[in-house]
Subunit: 301 residues, 4 copies
């Protein structure tokens, strides 16, 4: 089956205590492990070791992002595919990286370090696997799981081609300029509107990563929790034209943009790509506002 | 019992056809009557003749607003009270005004024409009074009823005093400056967070009137309908600190600000007034954003 | 103004520890005071001392219910009105009853002990009266406030007449038999669909009291919490035809029926009464099911 | 990739006019084609020719159900797999069946006729593929798409084995008896909690098929529409323990059980199966009620 879904995002923060306080107390994630300079977090309904890793660094930024593949063979196949495309692949052996086994790393055309991983330690979710009960005492925003991420690229089309031709992603939506070149692409492997999006911007930059919420009411509760904790909201609650999902963008206290997201359709490989033209960029990004604010376009980490 | 609730708002528009198209097709109101230069609208769950009257005028503005009183005696008592306060009262006889009977009109300290009315023609709502069914085919936003309005006043405290001492309104919330003077007041008669609010601004101006929605999901549907119809959203979906209700502000195509509103508490006369200090004005007005945008403060009709 | 709203319900339970555990841990109320044989509870958004009083007694039942009046004069006026109607009134002096001042008690035509109270100790709600924030850490169902109650009467029409003619209630809805006699009546003082309902059944019995929820999503969360705590659900989540509100009925572990309720219209004194005919009783009570289950009709306390 | 999702369910009805009236007017589906004795329906967000086919027959029942495969090769591979398992496969050529191309049919161990189809005519959904707008004028329940179905089998374990070993389904949940045998299994191909479920009952029977709703509010609106149209609700609105989704079961006017469903988790192939034990069957099926009603267990078509 190849790539299943976004596995984890590894970011850097200048204040580990603040990061831990925010991602547990406000976002409602669980810490599954800490090391000297790192902390690992997961959502309550996730089974795997972590979906977010935070490392201390004076600079706010992104180390890498990882997608999970179904089998050991998928890992080998994708390794060959990336190398055939002309990119160097670095093997990470079991034991080298916290919470996971054998994996591969390489640089994408947009200059991001990307990881593919097969084995991830199973730590289990909050619901039992035997006669489970719906959890009623979740604290903070408490998204059930990580959903997707958006990275920037100077050449969106080149990056999209790599993700589709080499890694097997399928394009659900695209935003195209007057001359037909791609300004943004939304691609999936998990039968959701997007697992990764690539939008025009500086190579190597992270625009945001997003947590899944179950519904519009959870979006409001998230906004209540953000406001209570004086977290700066970037945009929302609102709706995207792209994906037709509902959303809030906001910044963690160190400066990385987070999103909470819900809704959208459920695409299979036979889903025809949706195209947005540049003159509709406002509605494509923020369907209610009909325009994109400056901060949303210019702030990356 | 005196004043019951906001009865109707009378605005002026430069394009009657556009007004009719918007208030029926987008807002989902019913037209109950039209005359040469006026159109009368009501919400689907309202029984009275109209809650919005629109008159042709080259200028966008407000003619007056009306509150409904319970009895004929209430009308007489309030007439005396207003006159005792030193204001001239104009009697409108049955037959003089469309859709209503005997009423009184006078100018408020803030220079608005206000009306009190007892008799209003009953045209009935969409639900039967005998074994009613929940309506399932409402079109447009279709709020069940008008909820409240916000007017501007140069001297908020003076206006608040008039509404409370003479007309019997109760203050649920106030926004006060550093020296203790009132920048905004929210007052009610209907056991809801507010029937009328007065905020610092030019005398005689209308800031907005608001329709009630039943819940947060109806707020999202309203935003979907507004976006579909390319209606300019001013702010929202968001939450107010004041009233703790959820809201969207937007402009009708002629330029009058509308609101859809839901939520809040249910205050009785023993409800202790909530005070907001000026340094919290952002959270008071827009709880999620934590700041008030320029347009919201400066645009009135 | 007279009667404002349902103030508190006083019930008896055979297990005080269980009652405290349930009404705090599951229902999410706050205990404001305990005495040797009683415990007093309030909802998070209520300002008054209590809306539920629980007394130890081997028998599950109801001691009395109390409505709050606006002024001392209202208390005196209603005292006279009840006495004029031929009923004996018992004065309760300040200091005699926990958490409240001067009040009156009398027996209704249906054999219930009813109380009217003016002074109630203000203990305050969870939200500040100065720059309040939306609470985000409520536990259990946590309704913002008590809403209404339903009592039984052998002669519904006689009881309705007493509540309307003597106490000033207004009838929003009624269920009538083929010969026109009233099987059920819903009456209000607080501009909500009902503060008290009276339905045919044994004199002196309590059918249920109900807590207010803010929306349909809170109804689902309540059901999740009830199921998690193995609380027996009687009916719901569903909708009433009467009031058009959404609801769940369930039993506290001692056997008193509780309800959580939301929605409905906002009636003023000019609201025309809605009539349901007996052949539509199913839809009137449970709009989705279209029928009333045996337990709902026969179990009272 | 093999099987993608449930493609369509083919049922029989004794009244075609009533079926058309219900599936368009109440359920809100679109008719895409009619023949002498059949009608084909799709949901508004589906691109394919139909997800429900209705054929006239004096008896209410099921003709077959079809799953869609990704490629022509998948069809050939699965054909071989089914034949290797010892089952006869019938090839349906392009042109033989309405709205679809080459497909295969065979009988499952539970005696159901099952179809696998690759080519289905694309008729397109309601949203444009170019700068799409959120539809705001959907009528009836209007689910965006078909979701899953539940069939009965005398030997659940044998059927589950066939679906998993031969067709590649993954088991998300199972209900097991005291001796460890499977009473029910829930299986998926589309990364949703279930595409098909098999529960103990008579071979060849259809228990229900289910339409997807986007959220809990759409569940309530569905109930409003069902009640308005006097459609018999079987159970709900409620929640399942299995899948943790929200649901209503009801019968179309001819007698086939329908479901509307929302929620649940998003499982990948690494999702560990959840097990329910028979003593928790009540909570597994109806999480709020904690018990399964007789009709739900005994009525099939």
């Amino acid at each position: 089956m190849g790539i299943l879904r976004l596995s984890h995002v590894d970011i850097t923060v200048p204040d580990m205590d603040l990061a831990k306080a925010y991602y547990t107390g406000v976002m409602g994630l669980d810490i599954t492990e800490t090391t000297d300079d790192r902390a690992f977090f997961k959502c309550w309904d996730e089974e795997d070791h972590h979906s977010l890793a935070v490392r201390y660094d004076p600079r706010v930024g992104i180390d890498r992002f990882a997608f999970k593949v179904e089998t050991e063979d998928d890992l080998a196949d994708l390794e060959k595919a990336v190398e055939s495309y002309g990119f160097h692949v670095h093997r990470v052996s079991r034991g080298e990286e916290v919470g996971q086994g054998e994996s591969i790393r390489f640089e994408t055309p947009s200059g991001h370090e990307m990881e593919l991983v097969h084995e991830v330690d199973k730590v289990g979710g909050r619901m039992s696997k035997l006669n489970p009960e719906i959890p009623i005492d979740l604290q903070g925003i408490a998204p059930p799981r990580m959903d997707h991420m958006l990275i920037n690229a100077e050449e969106v089309g080149e990056s999209a081609k790599f993700f589709m031709d080499v890694l097997g992603f399928r394009m659900t939506e695209q935003l195209v300029g007057g001359d037909g070149h791609q300004i943004g692409v939304w691609m999936e492997r998990s039968h959701s509107p997007h697992d990764i999006a690539i939008v025009n911007g500086p190579n190597g930059a992270l625009h945001h990563f997003a947590f899944w919420l179950d519904d519009w009411d959870h979006v409001r509760r998230s906004a209540d929790i953000l406001a209570y904790n004086a977290i700066q909201i970037d945009v929302g609650p609102t709706r995207h034209g792209v994906t037709r999902g509902n959303t809030i963008y906001f910044f963690d206290p160190m400066g990385t943009r987070n999103e909470v997201f819900t809704g959208g359709y459920r695409p299979d490989p036979d889903f025809p790509t949706i195209t947005w033209t540049e003159d509709n960029i406002g509605q494509a990004v923020f369907y209610y506002e009909g325009e994109v604010n400056e901060r949303f376009v210019t702030v990356h980490t």
